[in-house]
Amino acid sequence: MGAVEDKVIDIIVDKLGVERAEVTPEAVFVDDLGADSLDLVELIMAMEEEFGFEIADEEAEKLRTVQDVISFVQARQAQS
């Protein structure tokens, strides 16, 4: 598993208080990981801090699954 995947999963485990095993790529934050709307905001804030870029609200709304976030971060890093 790559460094980005690891970091993203660390943050999700920390912020949502879920078991690592539950954080599969397909897991949907709201349905599978029990996140509420404030959890999602906090998750995005933590990603911004960890990876050092801003995530616009319109982009954040599209990030529904663990894989969505991993792909998003990888794409952003590839850009820079």
Partner: protein, 247 residues
Amino acid sequence: MTQMQVALVTGAARGIGRAIALALARPGLRVYINDVANFDDAALTQKDAEARGAQARVVPFDVADAGQVQQGIDDIVKESGRLDILVNNAGITRDNLIVRLKEADWDQVLTVNLKGAFNCIRAATKPMLKQRYGRIINIASVVGLMGNPGQANYVASKAGLIGLTKAVARELASRNITVNAVAPGFIQTEMTEVLPEKTKEEMLAQIPLGRFGTPEEVAQAVVFLAGEAAAYITGQVIQVNGGMLMV
């Protein structure tokens, strides 16, 4: 608590804001004294807060300007690492009868009193969410609950602050951030000093305790809400009004 606590009080150069900054001031607390004018007075508040053993800084941003507020609160968090207590006290009056109330006066009062609090809450929420701790206290007014002729703009802003308090209290409660309001009655400050004697006499007649309040008496309610003793209180309005209104 051994960690330093960090507080921001808006409109703290004079009046109730100054009394709040001083009442919060103690060793182990750093208080940021915000004001957009009256810098000599703000410097005096700073000096008096330091005399009480607190660390104090003056931060001259305009609460009505969202960009300035964001920058100001970012700078506070950068310097102090956290923000525990936010007191939204900055407020102005532009009184007139509704038929004579100018649009500019409506806008200005709503912008400073209500949008100013929104700007500060929005910027302060991020660090408070991260630290899983926060105390937000909005200074409303008795007139926000009972109305007052000649103050439609001010009354609307203060009633709006009470609604804002309740909405945000529900949003942030799960993260150990409490949001409350203090509604002062008739308090002796520069803001009320300018009222006609006749108005003051009429007000006094409505106050069961038979006197006007002091800024320090309002500040004590804020200190209570900001402290550990109030951990289970959120979304409430504490009235400090000498019995002028009882609800």
